[in-house]
Amino acid sequence: MLGKLDWSAIPFDQPIPLVAGAVVLVAILAVLIWVVVKGHLPYLWHEWITSVDHKRIGVMYILLASVMLLRGGSDAIMMRIQQAVAYQSQGYLPPEHYNQIFSAHGTIMIFFVAMPFVIGLMNLVVPLQLGVRDVAFPTLNSVGFWLTATGALLVNISLVIGEFARTGWLAFPPLSELSYSPGVGVDYYAWSLQISGVGTLVAGINLVTTVLKLRTKGMNYLRMPMFCWTTLASNLLIVAAFPILTATLAMLLLDRYLGFHFFTNEAGGNVMMFMNLIWAWGHPEVYILVLPAFGIFSEVVSTFSGKALFGYRSMVLATMAICVISFMVWLHHFFTMGAGPDVNAIFGIASMIIAIPTGVKIYNWLFTMYGGRIRFATPMLWSVGFMVTFIVGGLTGVLLAVPPADFMLHNSMFLVAHFHNVIIGGVLFGAFAGFEYWFPKAFGFRLDERWGKAAFWFTFLGFYVTFMPLYIAGMLGMTRRMQHYDVGAWRPWMIIAAVGMAVLSIGVICQIVQLAVSIRNREALRDHTGDPWDGRSLEWAPSSPPPVFNFAFNPDVRGEDAYWDMKAHAKQQSLEHERLEYQDIEMPRNSPTGFICAFFASIMGFALIWHIWWMVILGGLGAFATFVVFAWRDHDEYVIPAEEVAAIDRVNLEERRSLVSMAGAV
């Protein structure tokens, strides 16, 4: 009846996950009860859960990422404490629990923090920057988000019911095969990634189509803001790489569920095939994450330097070069597995070549700042912090791309330090820069600068104190994933790293406080202009937050830095302006399809993990029924009448005009 599920699935003997699970459960219940009692449920349902507005979906993506960041961060704290105390002792975590923690940490941070964060920012901003009303497929967008949420839910369920994989974040066979991992951990891993992977693919298709087919009039390719270019590159990579992950995980699941022999040791299975496939996805994945961050830095650096981006065309070229080369370096992830010197040399060179377009980008940002009127607002701090940190991370990456050096350093703490250096220093700093930069656009008020700066400095310093010691420990021969160790020379570095983790945590707390303080002071921090940073691209043209239709008129773009141009020529523009007539706007209707799909997908995923076959069938039928009902609906759009558009737009214009006249009076 319940497949493999019984009471032994709940880890009564392990207090840490149980207590954590109980606390989270109580918190969720409390929030739910509060929502229901206060009567917010209809609002949440109509305005957020069923929303197909790209801005709202973007915000929900970022919210999901933030919550999961806390979860993944807790795992990180537990690991740092364990390695600080586990010198010649077992530490406080049993080995199998420790193994689950590092697997969950990697999985969560990449798939459920970094991915939703950058996809959320792209969703929020790209249609605005392109001057369009929504993404190409709004309902599909909602489906994509909710499927990602399903994956995150399954990972969190594994905390209390059953276990998570103990195989590392990529579940290498044969360890992840049934004979070595008979539990449900790998199944949790694989199904949550399969389901959220579908969501990611959907988002990728959506954004590629949006950028290529929906740009507003005059938005030629070489007038698109840099963030749109990196979004395009990143989503092209998603479309090309995520199917590889889907196929690879499908093969692993077939091995585990039906006794197939893709990667087994018996009957001719080939483990190296898994390595090739997973890294053919995994290396582009790194650039899927970091390219949007590069785009964010380009926008931020240009805005806060008060200058157009230096070398825009070389930046575009560098972005697309990275997009292509990222598929030609995957083998550097297994230099030591006997591919031979020739193959290693070719992939080593390819891996170093990718540093060239990245270097082009760094110089372009530096030259954008050079001679600019720089304002060190919080997003700019994150950007400058990124440039310094990412160079260190990139250089250690080039070191690791040298095959002989890699033979010494692979699977060491040096490697751990390297990829945290690029992922935190690149992706996470970028995500935070984007968060601070576009927050006013999403919510209509700015974030508190003082707490923002405090958050930056604590995170920045904490990052260095945590991860520089790991480079040294790696040089001293410490390998990754160690549950305990007996080498005294490593210990001081582990303790310093744990201290760094504490500083890093203060940074996170500052960010939470910043959010709370800003929400409390939102009236004082209100952004009346829609353009709080004196921005250059079209997302700053509508009010903050923008109306559901984004633009009352389709913008007509005449050059790079579209909004900067408009501001520069505002006088003539205001003369021409009054002639335009407002028109009815058709917008996609809200739809619960995404939420219902994800509901059935959650049921199906859970049932698949526990081999509850009747429930799998039920979930499948539900999903199909949702699809048919969605396909059957007659009205997928509603009309906002011209008068309403005019009314909304006039309010915004009045607000801006009064500000301008006030400024004129001063």
């Binding site: 693919l201 298709i205 507003t216 199917p243 006794g259 009957a267 509508p542 050059g559 523009q573 021409e576």
Partner: protein, 213 residues
Amino acid sequence: MAMIATAGHAHADPHHIGLVIEHPGPAPKRIVTAYGFWIFLLSDIVMFSCFFAAYAVLSGQTAGGPRGSEIFEPRNVAIETVCLLLSSFTCGMASIAADVRNRFWFYLGMAVTCVLGLIFLAIEFREFADLVARGYGPSRSAFLTAFFSLVGCHGLHVSAGVLWLLTMMAQVFAKGFRADILRRMTCFALFWHALDIIWVAVFSVVYLLGSGA
């Protein structure tokens, strides 16, 4: 906000020598939908290429079990291929009928497509059932694993296509040739033709090369 920059500004950019072709604005919905679906199909083909790669790697790993030439039946595969290629033709006819809003030919084209698809699936199912009955199931060897997965994955796509086809017929029956239904029909036709292309690859890589080996 009015979104009109000053006239003559386009010439301010020194890189713009000569005529600049202005982007005309968002594409019509028909194009956007078909374009998005093309991209999905590309991603699907990437997924298939992984199974092709796995088959290429594992095709020699028979672990003492049968090789391809011992189990493939060229006659059946030929019939399958004919069915699928013909079904693509009839699907094309149904698309044309939809474009000219001719219900009779639309239903007829779709029905024939459906029957041909089902015949294809039946032959494939019999092939699989027969192999399993002889003890040559997918868990017998890595070669058979890769074979069943690659061909089965295509078969699953055809099955999904048949379901979709029936849904399309029902939709046209219930709602007629509405613009959104026609967009879906375009996507379905693209899907069905793409399955043909993949089958040609399966036919060549698995059955032709396998029979020769």
